[in-house]
């Protein structure tokens, strides 16, 4: 594995009395797909928020390459080359699919024509070309998930954070999304994936990070983590059945 493209060191976030993320550290290698698992409330999405600048960590640092991005506002983080999707679907409702994606594309260029062609590529990459001129709020859940990816992709990231992109999607649509993640991994992106569906996480991840109550309880290759007694007890337990 080559040098880390992202290094997260002991980040912490507290909401009132609750420590949502407690001294979480990990690294992300180039071209790696890192899976993050954990029950609801484990702090996974908050971790994404801290890394992507949506929220500011109380402590700890995040480095992208050699650059310390901790505490940078989200729009600066995006321009450093770190893009994300959101767990709760947030299409820019009044805008068409293309316009949604173009917002991200302007990270790479200020020229409209160029942004448009980047957007077209990204829309194509997620297979939404036939919906390109539709308003974003007209898409189905699966299509919205793909729009999220296209939008993030258009910013020209080196690192992509995908937050439960299969949640709420019809099971028949899941293989399509798995395929998409593989495709993204082949595009030389380093990816962090939050997932609940074991089928997906085992299929796509190179390495796994298990969280519980804001802390990392296990880390390593997927098979090992899945066998970790703590993980099984805390999280998988009775429900180690593919959802």
């Amino acid at each position: 594995m080559s040098a880390a493209v992202m290094r997260v060191d002991a980040v912490r976030k507290r909401f009132g009395g609750l420590v949502a993320v407690n001294d979480v550290s990990f690294t992300l290698g180039a071209g790696e797909v890192l899976g993050v698992v954990g029950p609801n409330g484990a702090g996974k999405s908050t971790l994404f928020d801290l890394v992507s600048g949506v929220r500011r960590p109380d402590a700890g640092t995040v480095h992208v390459g050699e650059r310390d991005i901790s505490g940078l506002p989200a729009h600066r983080v995006a321009r450093v080359g770190l893009a994300r999707t959101f767990q709760k679907l947030r299409p820019l409702a009044g805008l068409s699919v293309t316009d949604n994606v173009m917002v991200g594309a302007y990270c790479q260029t200020r020229r409209k024509a160029r942004a448009r062609s980047i957007a077209a590529e990204c829309v194509e990459a997620v297979g939404l070309t036939h919906k390109a001129n539709e308003d974003a709020d007209r898409l189905s859940t699966g299509q919205r998930k793909r729009l999220e990816v296209a939008r993030a992709l258009a910013t020209g990231p080196r690192i992509l954070l995908l937050d439960e992109i299969t949640a709420g999607v019809d099971p028949s649509g899941v293989p399509l999304l798995i395929e998409l993640i593989h495709k993204l991994a082949r595009m030389d992106l380093s990816i962090v994936v939050i997932e609940h569906r074991m089928r997906v996480i085992l299929d796509v991840s190179h390495r796994l990070l298990a969280m519980h109550l804001g802390t990392v309880i296990a880390e390593g290759d997927p098979a090992t983590v899945m066998r970790d007694p703590t993980v099984i007890e805390r999280y998988l337990g009775r429900s180690y059945v593919d959802s």
Binding site: D49, S52, G53, V54, R55, R56, P73, A74, H75, R76, V77, A78, R79, A83, R84, F86, K88, L89, R90, P91, L92, A93, G94, L95, D99, N100, M102, V103, G104, Y106, C107, R110, K112, A115, N133, D135, D137, R138, L139, S140, T141, R144, R151, A152, A154, T155
Partner: protein, 342 residues
């Protein structure tokens, strides 16, 4: 889909309609009687103001309910400086600068403290009301007496005063055309897209690299400055201003209604809205001259009917949305206190 072609052409039809109306005004203006001309000047002024509001209220999604604050700053700066011998055009520029500062400050403060949606609307209302109270009591700006601009006979563009109404009409038409061109350019430009993006969802926009605070501030300052220009025009046109009028809620409301009726965040909506409203308002007033109040009844009904049948405003007629095959999932936008994240 056929509907798509219509929706593509829709804005053009709207533009054509507005253009035809503007041309009609332009051509018939010299023959207009004083009454019609005054009505048209008022209507075009408020169409202009609606378009100014549209930049921040429509595109940037900051529903301001106190744009009278900027209007009043423009009107008062021009008027008060004029009393001290400053040329009104200079007064207009200074007023626009003051308003831009105020608009920028409003945007920065509201961004910093996460004041959004109805809270933002109400805080702008409070801002305008604050200025109204201050200006009513502030001796330097004439307090409750208001500001009277001396009328100096002799038309002159340099003095921003004209003997006849016609130059005022051309001037305000020019301003309205200019701001519409600006909004049309914005609509196609990256910044316009950024504004629409941050209107829909600031967190998402930021995660896509949009510096929301910066662009919201630009929009607010620009809108405020242009609104102040409208205020300066008002001063020079009527030659008298007083705080309850120029900082009044009624001015703010009059800027908002045409936009909402015409179509929020569209280039032609505010103009279509004004184009539809002015004749209705004036017509109802003329029709029910002997029954004061009846015109308000009619006006109220028209507003309600338009909103009920055209929930996206008149522009909705021109850009219809085809029926969806599946009901879209209700967009979930949890109330994220953006300011808290900083």
């Amino acid at each position: 889909m056929i509907a798509n072609s219509w929706s593509r052409h829709g804005p053009r039809v709207a533009a054509l309609l507005v253009g035809a109306a503007a041309l009609t005004i332009l051509v018939t203006a010299p023959g207009m009687g004083g009454y019609l001309m005054t009505v048209v000047i008022t209507a075009v002024l408020f169409a202009y103001l609606a378009q100014c509001w549209n930049i921040v209220g429509g595109y940037a999604g900051r529903f301001s309910f106190g744009h009278a604050a900027f209007f009043g700053v423009g009107a008062y700066t021009t008027g008060v400086l004029g009393q001290h011998g400053v040329n009104p055009w200079l007064g207009l520029l200074v007023g626009a600068a003051f308003a831009a500062l105020l608009g920028a400050a409003l945007a920065v403060v509201s961004f910093r403290f996460g004041v959004r949606g109805p809270y933002f609307a109400l805080s702008t209302l409070a801002l305008a009301e604050t200025l109204r109270v201050v200006f009513t009591n502030w001796e330097f700006v004439g307090a409750a007496r208001g500001v009277m601009v001396d009328f100096s006979p002799g038309s002159s563009l340099a003095a921003f005063q004209f003997d006849s109404r016609l130059p005022y009409l051309y001037l305000i038409l020019g301003l309205a055309a200019a701001v519409t061109a600006l909004v049309a350019a914005l609509d196609r430009h990256r910044v316009g897209l950024y504004l629409r993006a941050l209107r829909e969802d600031e967190t998402v926009a930021a995660s896509l690299g949009v510096d929301c605070q910066r662009y919201a501030t630009y929009a607010s300052a620009l809108s405020a400055a242009l609104t102040a220009v409208g205020g300066a025009f008002y001063t020079q046109w009527l030659l008298f201003i007083e705080a309850p009028t120029v900082y009044g809620v009624e001015i703010s409301v009059a800027m908002v209604i045409p936009v909402l009726l015409g179509g929020v965040g569209t280039v032609w909506g505010p103009l279509l809205g004004s184009l539809a409203l002015a004749p209705i308002q004036e017509g109802a007033r003329a029709l029910f001259r002997d029954r004061p109040g009846a015109d308000l009844v009619v006006y109220g009904i028209v507003i309600a009917v338009v909103i009920i049948y055209l929930p996206r405003g008149i522009m909705g007629l021109f850009t219809p949305r085809p029926k969806v095959d599946q009901p879209p999932v209700a967009p979930v936008t949890p109330p994220v206190p953006v300011g808290a994240a900083r």
